[in-house]
Symmetry: C2
Subunit: 87 residues, 2 copies
C-alpha cells in the first residue's frame, strides 16, 4: 500500500471527506487517522454491498484492491488529536 | 440531546472507541468529532439492522432514541485536529 499514490487517487474522496480526512459535509464522516484495516473493511463492504450508502456504494464499485489499499494508507497516515470539551 | 448525559452513558462505547473517541483497537473507528447526524444515522442503522457489525449490532439494539441523541452529542462535542504527513 502506497499512501502517496492514495493521496493522488483521493480526489473523489476529498469532495466529501477532505484531502486531510476532515469531512466537508455533516453526513460524511471524518476519516483522518482511521486505521488501515477499518478503512479497507468499510470500502470493501461498500463495494460488495454489505454496507450501503447512496454515494459510497457507487464510488466504491470501481475501486480495485490496490486502490483500496492505497486510499486507506493515505487517510491512515494522517495524525489526529483531540480536545475534550470543557466540563 | 445532552452531551454530559451522553458521556455518562458512554462506558460501553468507550471500551472500543475511547471516552475521547480515539479508538483503542484497529477494527473500531475513531469517532471523536464526527457530526451528530452521522453518529445518529450510524447508531440507528446498527439498531435497525441496515448496517451490521458483530459488536455494534448488539450494542445498538438496546439504545433508545434519547440514548442515541445523547451519545452522539457527546462524541460530536470533542474537537479534532489533524496533522498531515510529511511528503
Amino acid at each position: 500500500a502506497d499512501p502517496t499514490a492514495g493521496r493522488e487517487k483521493a480526489s473523489a474522496c476529498s469532495t466529501c471527506h477532505g484531502i486531510d480526512g476532515i469531512a466537508k459535509i455533516p453526513i460524511a464522516p471524518h476519516i483522518a487517522g482511521e486505521s488501515e484495516v477499518y478503512l479497507q473493511t468499510q470500502l470493501k463492504a461498500f463495494r460488495s454491498g454489505k454496507r450501503e450508502h447512496e454515494i459510497m456504494s457507487i464510488i466504491a464499485k470501481d475501486l480495485s484492491d490496490e486502490d483500496i489499499a492505497d486510499l486507506s494508507a493515505w487517510y491512515a497516515s494522517i495524525e489526529i488529536s483531540v480536545q475534550m470539551p470543557d466540563s
